[in-house]
């Protein structure tokens, strides 16, 4: 599936939730259940320090696709990472460069992507794009 389709699928899934409680409970479940990154990549080199929570990101190329793994020390942040990874990982670098994160607004989690929230997520998205740009250059 291309990024746009995955994002639509996520928006569809979230439309089943009646209120923020259900959305948050789902995020917390996602955050708890997924081991998102191999411990060997949870290094200081891969860390994005926010004032509120920390995020680790690792990227590697699998054929012509970019695979992301990431983690956070906060569960809600980790839940959002799980959703972002689902949309952006295993995609071609150019598609990642072209994609946007509008769907996070649509599923009612906009506040977590505010630059002033300082939870590391905005920097993480920037980092995903930077990796994509770097690997795209490599592919060219």
């Amino acid at each position: 599936m291309v990024i746009k389709e995955i994002q639509e699928e996520i928006v569809d899934e979230f439309s089943m939730f009646d209120d923020w409680m259900q959305r948050y409970e789902y995020m917390i479940d996602l955050g708890k259940s997924l081991p998102l990154i191999n411990d060997q990549y949870k290094t200081d080199d891969n860390i994005i320090k926010g004032c509120q929570s920390k995020v680790w990101v690792h990227a590697e190329l699998d054929d012509d696709k970019l695979v992301f793994t990431a983690d956070s020390d906060a569960i809600i942040t980790k839940g959002i990472i799980a959703i972002l990874i689902r949309a952006f990982s295993n995609q071609k670098p150019q598609d990642i460069i072209d994609a946007d994160t509008q769907f996070i607004d649509e599923i009612g989690l906009k506040e977590h992507l505010s630059p002033t929230r300082a939870n590391g997520l905005v920097s993480m998205i920037k980092q995903l794009k930077l990796y994509a740009v770097a690997y795209q250059t490599q592919l060219n």
């Binding site: 923020w20 409680m21 948050y24 409970e25 917390i28 004032c51 509120q52 929570s53 920390k54 020390d73 906060a74 569960i75 809600i76 942040t77 506040e111 977590h112 300082a118 939870n119």
Partner: protein, 404 residues
């Protein structure tokens, strides 16, 4: 006693809703809310006598100048400052500290020592680190114990003839600890060191008497004490302010300017270059009037009751730990729940209409001391109620259940 129901009517913002729930504002240590009396002073200024000060001969300018200088007098009397020109009106605490740190550049030499407390806000650390870089002076840290109290024994050992400056907050923003600044100032003076006290957190809770404290510099932000943002005070003893060079050049701070040489204006104008925050200064004065009409001693007594009530209730929550447990503390509760991240708790509290602060509170060294990423901080003001504390406790319980 204070009449909380009556007081709450002075704060229009307290009637609003957040995420469909009544706002419960418990982030008072970050900024306090603004009463109608202060909002009215702001509106009155822009509606009736907005003009630049200290230079116009026209009526509006004179009225604005009088109101601004009257505000300076209010600040002077509130903090029992000997002379009006020892009150520098600044943009706030950070600005005030930077004026002093910048000024000391020419007064320090390599190897001079500065002492900083372990529980400072970054704004009372970074300007001094920059000063050390410029001068080769050495920054030494006064450590704290597990309760969040400064280790006074070590402080006395650190003091020496090499000590030139000591800086410490009066009350810690992250822990609420009231520091023994009177004893610290006395000891520093015995070795000839000057003391700067960051009073940003203290101003809303207690009346600091500059002459009694015998402090050399004291800083305050108006927005922590029901005033507007972007204005505050630097108190400095006249002898020190005379020694320090100006911080910024510009209009207002000069006596005479030619291209060959400029002579500086007298205090306080030497440190007040450019058009100041005139409206903010006037509103700062209005905020002090408001606080003094209620009485800081009544405010402190009531906030202590809230603190005790909230501490007891919060500690009934399983796994909850409070950081900053000194017996001398104000109405700030920094806490975590075992195994849970403060960001997660804060995000859920926000959804429930409860405004708290999460993170490192611009005091990373404290978080490093406790080896935690941050805390959830609830800080109470005199317009908060025990019912609001009950909602806080129930909301934290709910967050805990969701995250467990």
């Amino acid at each position: 006693m204070i009449d909380v129901a009556k007081i709450r009517k002075d704060f229009p913002i307290l009637t609003r809703e957040v995420n469909g729930k009544p706002l419960i504002y418990l982030d008072n240590a970050a900024t306090s809310q603004t009463p109608t009396q202060v909002i009215d002073a702001i509106v009155d200024y822009y509606t009736n006598y907005n003009a630049n000060i200290h230079r116009g001969v026209h009526t509006l300018s004179q009225e604005a100048t009088d109101a601004y200088e009257e505000a300076r007098a209010k600040v002077q009397h509130h903090f029992n400052i000997a002379k009006p020109h020892e009150v520098i009106l600044t943009a706030g605490t950070t600005h005030s500290i930077n004026i002093v740190a910048s000024g000391f550049t020419s007064l320090l030499k390599k190897g001079d020592e500065l002492l900083v407390s372990a529980m400072e806000h970054h704004s009372n650390i970074v300007p001094w680190q920059m000063l050390c870089e410029r001068t080769g002076a050495i920054l030494k840290v006064i450590p704290m114990n597990e309760q969040g109290e400064l280790e006074m024994g070590v402080y006395h050992e650190l003091l020496s003839d090499a000590t030139k400056l000591v800086f410490c907050n009066h009350i810690s923003n992250a822990l609420g600890t009231i520091n023994p600044i009177e004893a610290m100032i006395k000891a520093a003076h015995e070795v000839g060191a000057a003391v700067l006290v960051d009073g940003a957190q203290a101003a809303p809770h207690l009346k600091a008497d500059m002459q009694k404290l015998d402090v050399d510099f004291y800083t305050v932000s108006a927005h922590k004490i029901c005033g507007p943002t972007g204005v505050g005070m630097l108190y400095g003893k006249e002898e020190w302010l005379a020694k320090l060079p100006p911080y910024q050049g510009g209009g207002e701070m000069i006596a005479e300017v030619t291209f060959e040489k400029t002579t500086y204006a007298d205090l306080p104008h030497k440190f007040e270059a450019g058009t100041p925050n005139i409206c903010g200064g006037i509103a700062f004065g209005a905020a002090l009037d408001y606080i003094n009409a209620i009485g800081l001693e009544h405010i402190a007594a009531y906030e202590n009751e809230l603190l005790e009530y909230a501490t007891t209730k919060l500690l009934t929550i399983e796994g909850l730990k409070i950081y900053g447990t000194s017996v001398n503390k104000t109405s700030v509760i920094s806490f975590n729940i075992e195994g849970m991240h403060p960001y997660d708790i804060g995000s859920i509290l926000d959804k429930l209409g409860v405004a708290v602060r999460t993170g490192h509170h611009c005091a990373q060294p404290i978080m490093d001391f406790y080896k935690i990423p941050g805390t959830v901080r609830a800080s109470f003001s005199f317009y908060n109620t025990t019912e609001e504390v009950d909602v806080l406790v129930a909301s934290v319980e709910r967050a805990r259940n969701m995250l467990a």
